[in-house]
């Protein structure tokens, strides 16, 4: 993939991506970063470090809960998990996001047809 094909994340979507990844089961920060890259097929340009302020903010908002556990390699890492509140929030936000992209897509499609 060429550098030009990579996206910067729109404002506010990082939280949603993180929560989506975390919803699959307890996971530490490094793995979250790897998963986002893999799942987006390397198309998203996320500065790895910028995950952490977001993680901490979500934890502070009680959408995530964290605990220290051993990884498969035996090292201690901080694992994040969705809280009940986080789950509800994710469901809500995902629906909102879908509606938004549908609507934006609809409009953009129309415009393009009009232009061409």
């Amino acid at each position: 993939m060429k550098e030009d094909d990579k996206f910067d994340l729109p404002q506010g979507t990082l939280d949603l991506l993180i929560m989506r990844v975390v919803s699959l089961g307890p996971i530490h920060g490094y793995a979250i970063a790897q998963r986002i890259q893999q799942m987006s097929r390397e198309a998203l340009q996320v500065q790895q470090g910028s995950l952490y302020p977001a993680l901490h903010r979500l934890e502070y908002k009680k959408l995530l809960i964290a605990k220290w556990q051993a990884t498969e390699t035996g090292r201690e890492a901080k694992f994040y998990e969705l809280t009940a509140r986080g789950r509800a929030f994710l469901k809500d936000e995902t629906e909102k996001w879908k509606r938004l992209t549908d609507v934006v897509g609809l409009i953009l499609k129309g415009t393009l047809e009009g232009v061409s």
């Binding site: 530490h28 970063a33 470090g49 952490y52 302020p53 090292r75 201690e76």
Partner: protein, 899 residues
């Protein structure tokens, strides 16, 4: 995990954050190595992909939501360190704030308690008092100005019957400070004790809307002549004297030898219908007052002795009500033969707010307290000027520091916030200290104002208003005078500030600073002149010729009625008193009378000469025994005094004082053998047999304006039983009180001492007010002087520091020490003189405002003025000399090397 907890687990969280991020990077490095990248390169790439670690950590901390608090804590910590670093500045600022605010809060506590507080009763705002001034002393007959404030029982009852505008109209015994009843609990072992009793109408408690703490309160059915004598005890008396004993209610107490049943206890916090240092211990209904408690006089239809307070019905307009009451009063007085047509036409009543009660204390202290409030405000202004000066000086000193911080990239908002935190911190410390000072100050003021008084229902504890006031002043001062220098400092362009350094010849202290010092000097000279005037006034009052002798005299007060004596027994009692006291070794004269000179009360009556019924005067009547005039040192100027030949069967005579002669006779006219009549139901003419000097009674301000006539104890008069004994001894006798007690017990075990004082102490007691004012003025004047001196010192010292290098150059160029001292001192003295130029005219103007509170002074006296000016100049010299000498000891070489 809330933010508070997070704040305190900050350290642990930082360690965890570090661990978490390190794990990420290590894991990435491991992955990269696994995919074949060399270790060094893997590390570099991992860090690059991760981004700036410190920024990310900061981002994480922000996410925690505690950053604002952390930086606040940082600011506070830094501020405290700054304040600790300059203890001189901190101490001066805190003390200045504490004194300025403390003095104000203390005065305000008093003003709040004495002037502004309403009675603790239901809806005090709807209470109205009939009469707007505190009439002293039971009296009868028409008033000169026709403004009535005190009424007879009969007048009260008629007014009550004819005014449906009032929900309730209640009456209460008017404002004598001393209304003792002698009380002994039935069956108890205790001796009879004098306590305060107050006679009130049956609807008194109902009108105030009060509920009893125990038992019941007095009701209308108790206030009937046929009802048994009952009393309500005050809550403090019940708690403190009878230990909150429940059996008090329903038990019998002997009051002036009459049995009274205590039916209940008044509510806690109710201190009677007026603020007083002698609040009532017992409330008794008017109609059942036994003769032993003065009931005879109280039932006299012309004897005015009641204050009246009523609760108006909603929607009643005050002015028509006042008109109606005045008309009613005219109608009542029209039936009284003592009132001429002119007296009746003048008669009126002015309604006043009754929420604070009868307000005799408020009336007598209002002008003093207002004056003190003004003075405290002046002191606060001086204090604020000082703080401004201090903070400005500090702001300028730290200009360089601020420039360095700005140059190093500190945000301007952060610097301003930092300085603001610092001044608020200072204000907070000052405010807290001020609160302590205000508590101490209010206690001291209470002690000065009401010496030796435990019964006053005023607490020195600052109220919420006072707390709020102190905090507001502290914060306003802190913010206003802290932010301005902060903004100036923050605005400075760093490069310029760093360049300009300290070598400068101009300025020293700025114009604003000098202006503030001038302003302080002006204010303090005003206060000092005031203090001088009030102490002069006090000294004049105390050294007035009172035309009496006070040395080796003791005044004893008894109550013959309370001890059970009847009309036909008191003559014998008077004779026994004379004999028994004369029998004490060392006793020279024994005077017996109703009142003595310089006492708080007397009896006034309308008087006119026979054959001249149009000329009315009000004169004080005192009945005395033959030795009375000698015992108090009043000299007989014409004719004779009262002698033992004046008996019940001899002609009705009176001795009058000089003021009486001046008021009723033309100059040169001989008053001897002339006759006059005085108020009362069946006046019996008095023949004047002598004239005595105008000895001061009640108040020296009335010297020369107080007509008096003295009748013999043995003859019928307008007044009640004699209650004062003046014992003159040949030498001071320390155990006189004990001897008196034994002597009285020997006559009748019911004769208790109501009050025992030396004549000197009694006289001094009449000047408490003036002494308090003069002491406080001196105190505030001293405070102002101290603050102004500090201010002048601060500015001078600052300018010396600023001019150190200039002084160094001058000295290097040949200026000698004297020149430098003179140069510095000159500017300090110049500022003080400018202050004097403003302050002295203001002091003259101020003196005209307080003229009514001064005695024997109409304007600023030379001595007070010179004393104030001298003190201020001396203080200025001290404040200027210290920095001047320091300037003179500057070593030119070191001064020049400073930069």
């Amino acid at each position: 995990m809330n933010w508070f907890w997070r704040l305190f687990s900050r350290k642990r969280m930082d360690i965890e954050l570090d661990k978490e991020l390190r794990f990420h990077i290590e894991a990435q490095v491991a992955d990269k190595i696994r995919s074949g990248v060399p270790e060094n390169e893997a590390r570099r790439l991992a860090r690059l992909e991760f981004g700036g670690i410190d920024q990310i950590k900061e981002g994480c901390r922000h996410s925690r939501g505690t950053v604002w608090l952390e930086s606040l804590l940082q600011d506070v910590g830094y501020g405290l360190r700054q304040l600790r670093k300059s203890p001189g500045f901190t101490l001066t600022a805190v003390l200045t704030l504490a004194m300025g605010i403390g003095a104000n809060a203390a005065i305000f506590t008093l003003v709040n308690a004495v002037l502004l507080r309403d009675l603790p009763v239901v809806d005090p705002k709807s209470l109205v008092r009939l009469g707007n001034w505190a009439d002293c002393c039971q009296n009868s007959g028409p008033k000169q100005d026709g403004n009535y404030s005190m009424f007879s029982t009969e007048t009260y009852e008629q007014l009550k019957r004819n005014t449906p505008e009032f929900e309730e109209l209640a009456a209460m015994q008017a404002g004598f400070e001393n209304r003792p009843v002698v009380v002994r609990r039935d069956g108890g072992q205790e001796a009879a004790m004098p306590r305060m009793g107050e006679f009130v109408s049956g609807n008194y408690f109902g009108m105030f809307g009060l509920q009893p703490a125990k038992g019941r309160l007095i009701s209308a059915s108790d206030d009937l002549a046929s009802a048994p004598l009952v009393a309500v005890m005050s809550y403090p008396t019940w708690k403190n004297v009878y230990g909150g004993d429940d059996s008090v209610v329903g038990s019998t107490f002997w009051m002036n030898t009459k049995p009274a049943t205590i039916v209940g206890v008044a509510p806690e916090g109710f201190y009677g219908d007026r603020m007083s240092n002698t609040p009532p211990d017992f409330y008794l209904p008017i109609a059942t007052v036994p003769n032993e408690m003065g009931g005879k006089g109280f039932r006299d239809s012309s004897q005015n002795w009641l204050d009246i307070i009523g609760r108006v019905k909603p929607g009643v307009a005050p002015l028509p009500l006042q008109e109606k009451l005045s008309a009613e009063l005219k109608r009542i007085y029209a039936k009284d033969s003592h009132f001429s047509a002119a007296d009746i036409a003048k008669a009126h009543v002015v309604l006043a707010a009754g929420g604070a009660g009868t307000q005799s204390m408020q009336d007598s202290y209002a002008s003093n307290l207002k004056l003190l409030m003004w003075i405290a405000t002046l002191v606060l202004m001086i204090a604020c000027a000082n703080i401004t000066n201090l903070l400005m000086v500090r702001g300028m000193q730290r200009k360089t520091e601020m420039s360095v911080r700005t140059a190093l990239g500190a945000m301007r908002t952060r610097i301003v916030r930092q300085l603001l935190t610092e001044s608020l911190l200072l204000a907070a410390i000052g405010g807290v200290t001020a609160l302590a000072a205000s508590y101490g100050g209010a206690r001291m003021l209470l002690m000065l104002t009401f010496p030796g008084d435990q019964h006053l229902p005023i607490s020195a504890r600052p109220s919420f208003e006072v707390l709020g006031f102190a905090i507001c002043v502290a914060i306003t001062t802190g913010v206003t005078f802290g932010v301005a220098p902060a903004l100036i400092a923050a605005k400075a362009s760093p490069a310029e500030a760093l360049r300009s350094g300290t070598r400068t010849t101009v300025g020293g202290a700025s114009l604003v600073q000098r202006g503030l010092v001038v302003f302080q000097a002006a204010l303090s000279v005003v206060l000092l002149v005031g203090a001088g005037l009030f102490s002069q006034s006090l000294s004049k009052l105390q050294h007035t010729d009172m035309k009496l002798e006070s040395q080796n005299r003791y005044i004893v007060h008894i109550n013959a009625q309370a001890a059970g004596y009847k009309d036909d027994q008191v003559d014998a009692l008077y004779r026994t008193l004379e004999e028994r006291f004369h029998a004490i070794p060392g006793v020279v004269n024994v005077g017996v009378s109703t009142f003595t000179p310089m006492e708080g009360n007397d009896d006034g009556f309308g008087v006119h000469l026979i054959g001249q019924p149009d000329i009315h005067i009000e004169a004080t009547n005192i009945i005395v025994n033959p030795e009375y005039f000698d015992s108090v040192g009043t000299s007989v100027l014409m004719g004779r005094g009262i002698t033992s030949h004046d008996t019940a069967t001899s002609p009705h005579v009176a001795v009058v004082n000089q003021d009486f002669v001046h008021a009723l006779f033309k100059p040169g006219e001989n008053p001897i053998s002339r006759s006059f009549v005085a108020g009362g139901d069946s006046p019996k003419p008095y023949a004047i047999v002598g004239v005595v000097a105008g000895t001061s009674y009640t108040n020296v301000r009335r010297n020369g304006k107080r007509p008096m006539y003295f009748g013999p104890l043995t003859q019928p008069s307008e007044v009640g039983y004699a209650g004062a004994i003046v014992v003159q001894t040949s030498h001071p006798m320390g155990d006189m009180e004990e001897i008196t007690r034994r002597t009285l017990m020997g006559i009748n075990s019911n004769l208790a001492i109501q009050k025992f004082e030396t004549f000197e102490a009694q006289i001094a007691g009449r000047f408490t007010h003036e002494r308090m004012l003069s002491t406080l003025m001196l105190l505030f004047g001293g405070l102002a002087l101290l603050l102004a001196t500090l201010g002048l010192y601060g500015v001078t010292a600052y300018s010396v520091v600023r001019r150190t290098s200039e002084i160094g150059i001058r000295m290097a160029l040949g200026a000698n020490r004297n020149f430098v001292v003179a140069m510095i001192l000159r500017s300090a003295i110049l500022q003080t003189l400018s202050g004097l130029a403003i302050g002295v005219p203001v002091a003259f103007y101020g003196a005209t405002l307080v003229r009514s509170q001064l005695y024997g002074l109409t304007s600023v006296s030379g001595s007070a003025l010179w004393a104030a000016v001298g003190m201020l100049l001396a203080a200025a010299c001290v404040a200027g000399a210290i920095p001047a000498l320091r300037a003179a000891s500057v070593d030119p070489v070191r001064a020049l090397r400073i930069e």
